[in-house]
């Protein structure tokens, strides 16, 4: 009888996609991963709404706008285990460099002051289609409960692989010192 495979979902919030790229850096093992899991909502496939409950959700990036928050909450509701993957999810990362600067200054620099800006009416993007930008960038665990944190910018492929397979197979994580890197 076929075992029902556990489901895996991934999301990139305010990150750079580097953590997803590092997941792809497991290279040939991606074929093993496909044997191990059924992919659900993820930017690497075309599933855009959860189709059923997932065992594991991998979250890259922190929350810089309201849509990130909704998406993260949506993942929390639909995943048994939620993992912060990489520095942005864990502590905001490089995007959080803006936390000490008024948002207005960031917007003005990009849309009014730049040397190539053409903006005769002095408008700053603010259409209702655009989600509200948050006052600061929030790490994931300040928004919802996160179960695990994998450090690195990005976490090395081997670290993601070891942690993920342990979670999926319900085994203890074996993470030797050499595979954990913080840069």
């Amino acid at each position: 009888m076929d075992m029902v495979k556990p489901r895996l979902a991934t999301a990139s919030l305010a990150g750079c996609f580097g953590c997803h790229m590092s997941l792809l850096d497991i290279d040939e093992r991606i074929l093993q991963l496909i044997e191990l899991v059924e992919f659900d909502k993820s930017p690497i496939d075309d599933i855009k709404q959860f189709t059923s409950r997932c065992a594991v959700g991998l979250i890259e990036g922190g929350c810089c706008n309201e849509e990130n928050v909704h998406n993260l909450q949506y993942f929390r509701e639909n995943c048994d285990i939620l993992v912060s993957v990489g520095e942005c999810a864990i502590m905001g990362g490089i995007p959080a460099l803006r936390n000490n600067i008024p948002l207005k200054e960031c917007l003005e620099e990009a849309y009014l002051n730049g040397p190539t800006v053409y903006n005769p009416d002095g408008k700053i993007p603010g259409d209702e289609e655009l989600p509200l930008i948050l006052n600061r960038v929030y790490p994931c665990h300040e928004v919802v409960k996160m179960d695990y944190h994998l450090p690195g910018c990005p976490p090395p492929a081997d670290l993601i692989w070891r942690a993920l397979t342990a979670l999926l197979e319900n085994k203890p994580m074996d993470l030797p010192y050499e595979v954990i890197k913080y840069d």
Binding site: S12, A14, G15, F17, G18, I47, I101, T116, P154
Partner: protein, 465 residues
Amino acid sequence: MTRVEGHGKVTILLDENKQVTQARLHIVEFRGFERFIQDRPYWEIPVVVQRLCGICPVSHHLAAAKAMDVIVGADRLTPTAEKMRRLMHYGQIYQSHALHFFHLVSPDLLFGFDADPAIRNVIGVAEKFPELAVQGVMMRKYGQEIIKVTAGKKIHGTGAIPGGINKNLSIEERDFLLKDIDQQIEWSRGALKIARDYTLEHFADLKDFGSFDSSHLSIIRGDGALDLYDGGLRAIDFQGNRIFDHVNCRDYTDYIAEEVKDWSYMKFPFIKKLGPEKGWYRVGPLARLNTADFIDTPEAEAARQDFMALTNGKPNNVTMAYHWARMIEVLHSAEKIRELLNDTDLQGEDLVVKGERRPEGIGVIEAPRGTLFHHYRVDENDQVTMANLIVSTTSNNEPMNLAVEKVAKKYISGTEVTEGLLNRVEVAIRAYDPCLSCATHALGKMPLIVSIVDHNGRIVDEKIT
């Protein structure tokens, strides 16, 4: 929106007869890099700004390093430094193009635009065409290995520094890469053949799919050859007439400006001489094939001639031809990698040069997705005071919007929205391989929300896929 790298959203507006009046691709994230890297020390910039994008970090790493070369007065790098950077860059182009083609696009080509989304993805490809999927994985891996030995790390490395690089290529590293290069070239030929044959077989359908005439922009070598690392700016119109040529990148602000629109965080670049209405242009593999006079590696040059023959030597304006052009660049990168691996300059010891310090630096490079501009001012305390970035995908903003509009007008009739239609909109966007993360200086992924809004502003249908 999935299988593109970034945060996007499409809205389609209808009139009372349910005809499409407007279709827009909104970029919904904003990060503010231009402001928050101010006050950081200049030498930190190549490492920090690459974190705009984990898909093409090397492009930002190198563009920033080139700008900082100007700041530290390094007008001419040592051969070892320039060639190490080039090797890193070709590795990057190779892995990025392979990722896009095999992991993101091949499901549309192999299964069709209307195929069940449950299988229309890279996992479906792995199950149905395992050999091809493994090739894609191994090609991307090879590019990543090159980045690792040149930058120290596969993603967000540190190889390029102001004035040069911090390591050369050891004999062991060289031999490790040389071992597989012939196989990689063979696979590149195969990938090119898939893209070429697909385009030609489906040309009747593809030629109008989200297509339109446009200007094209790229950097170009002094002798007119395709050069992804360095050169002057060349812009041509849709028939191939030169708008400007061999412009020194340091003068880019005289030629290019970016319009701000209130419905997208992504700006709309245009050629100043032509104005904001008519000055928009395309960048990336298609534009580069159109601007180049020739390619300096034999197999890619033969492929270029074959490609240009389709349009009788005139610029190719077919949006879906991007895929074919991209695979020509994959083969070109593989040929370049082989050439560089056999060059003993890579084992040189002279890594960094310096000269007279300057207050301002501009670095331009052809990233996988097109021309990338980095521009910085640095004060006497070595702190950045101004940063301006025009990333490749931003230049394709207007073209992607046009492509979306064309596809929406052609395929949306009435208010019934099917998944296949939505995917068609995405297929048109995906042709540009947009890195919406780069573009907003943010990256991530959003559902493609297509909202159909009637003439009273009422949402008559909304589909989140």
